[in-house]
Amino acid sequence: MNDRQILDFEKPIAELEKKISDMKDFAAGANITLDSEITSLEEKVEKLRHEIFTGLTRWQKVQLARHPRRPYTLDYIQLMMTDFVEFHGDRYFADDKAVVGGFAKIDGRPIMVVGQQKGRDTKAKLFRNFGMMHPEGYRKALRLFKLAEKFNRPVVIMIDTPGAYPGIGAEERGQAEAIARNLREMAVLKVPIVIIIIGEGASGGALGIGVGDRVFMMQYSWYSVISPEGCAAILWRDAAHAPQAAEALKLTSEDLMELGVIDGIIPEPPGGAHNDHRAAALAAKNKIMETLGELEKLPTEQLLAERLEKFRKIGVYGE
């Protein structure tokens, strides 16, 4: 793991952990026991981690959501599901690699899974366009949602995007229209839809695959009308004010729970999902299974009425 993959506020923890692993190596090599020293250091790490993570600012949580080692959609699919068959293309223009999807099984139960996909290294980042979808991506997702409806499979969606792609081609092919259509069609799709924000949920780019029956957020993900940088560039006229914008936008999972916009927070393993992909995926999977169980009991009419009401009631105003 290189230094770039450790965030500033993670460094004290990483240093202690390094010390522990050095000590273990030394003890093994010298054939002596340092068990009590190691245990005491391990306790110290836990305490330090707890201290740091309970005092995180919103901006630091944004950094965690963007952590270079954070699990992405395909990691979750691999860890939560079996028999994934990936489908490609929107049938009109192209296959958008910033979004992946297809049939899969979760505990043997067939579902449709769709999610935004980021790349891990530079080449993969470019291939995935940093998880920023074009109109053909939203149309690909809608095609898969309609397939799910046709074959009566519930939909599981993972959101992780810094925004819909702002480019010439995206505008030419109707980025706004593609997102708007998804909002309307997802509102009346006749199968259960469960959504998890696993990393970044930026703006219409996230919401464009984000209308459903239950919306959950991983503990250290964010979801907002605009990225902190975008907001800072407009309201502070300087993207460097992103930390202040992050505070003002109230974009963490706790914030959205308090605002009544999401249905629950999925706890991440100590230190964040990147420290233990398997544990993060298990927590997400448990939430999905529990939720599908609830939703599948509802008659379609009630499911759709409740979905509409869920979004209909969001908003704070005086009258």
Binding site: G174, A176, L183, S203, V225, A248, R312
Partner: protein, 280 residues
């Protein structure tokens, strides 16, 4: 009935701000100096270059609807500050300033009106209120306008003019996109017509929700339309944008607009479209 008192005051306050109150007005597009009374008579369209000046919601009501009348609903809805948002200004101060400047309570006016005798649920956005941005109030008023169309079984017309979702209400603003779009699905199920009219500018969160979902979508000439703002696109791709990019003409060419209609023909066009689509 209370015919639309608030907007009348808004009208005069706004007229001072956006439109020079001199005897003569210079067209920002072609620099032609025009006799202001003539400009007014031509619905604020430059007689030389057809440039469409941005005008207030009140003016649209005056020439689009029968007798210039709208029976306004939900006029008393006002923004709150659920996030306690503060940038250079506190959000409540920004709202107060916008109310004083525009004479409006928020960025949309909704109600029931008639076009050539056909009763419609009508919503008109106003850019002079924080750039026509959509927060909880705009979302709720649009939602109610859609529901009013459904309840009464009448067509819906929304005239959009907006820079997008209102940042100061963050996620709540974003969710108004889902709220309004979901209700439009209900309207569509009832087979009631929805005509979306786009004016300069209609972008971002509004364009990526109800503005793009009309059965028919028409726009005024040379309006700036689109998802991302031109500055953001320019910064992202690091090159100049082609001329005319994201204009009404561009979007019509790309297949996302049914028609570009000059302001002077808007009322007649809407009346005809209502005749074709209002099948009941």
């Amino acid at each position: 009935m209370d015919w639309f008192k608030k907007t009348k005051t808004g009208l005069s306050a706004q007229a001072k701000k956006d439109i020079p109150d001199g005897l003569w007005t210079k067209c920002p597009e072609c620099s032609e100096v025009i006799y202001t009374k003539q400009l007014e008579a031509r619905l604020w369209v430059c007689p030389e270059c057809r440039y469409h000046f941005r005008i207030t919601s009140g003016k649209y009501i005056s020439f689009l609807l029968d007798d210039g009348r709208l029976e306004e609903y939900d006029a008393n809805l006002v923004s709150k500050d659920p996030l306690r948002f503060k940038d250079s200004k506190k959000y409540p101060d920004r709202i107060r300033g916008a109310i004083e400047k525009s004479g409006l309570n928020d960025a949309v006016i909704c109600g029931i009106g008639k076009i050539k005798g056909v009763e419609i649920s009508f919503a008109i956005m106003d850019f002079s209120f924080i750039g026509g941005s959509m927060g909880s109030v705009v979302g709720e008023k649009i939602a109610r306008a859609i529901e009013r169309a459904i309840d009464r079984g009448i067509p819906l017309i929304i005239v959009s003019c907006s820079g997008g979702a209102r940042m100061q209400e963050s996620i709540l603003s974003l969710m108004q996109m889902a709220k309004t779009s979901a209700l439009l699905a209900k309207l569509a199920e009832k087979r009631l017509p929805y005509i979306s009219v786009l004016t300069n500018p209609t972008t971002a969160g509004v364009m990526a929700s109800y503005a793009s979902l009309g059965d028919l979508i028409i726009a005024e000439p040379k309006a700036l339309l689109g998802f991302a703002g031109p500055r953001v696109i320019q910064q992202t791709i690091g090159q100049d944008l082609p001329p005319g990019f994201q204009s009404s003409e561009f979007f019509k060419e790309k297949g996302f607009l049914d028609k570009i209609v000059e302001r002077s023909e808007l009322r007649d066009t809407l009346a005809l479209l209502l005749e074709y689509t209002n099948h009941r």
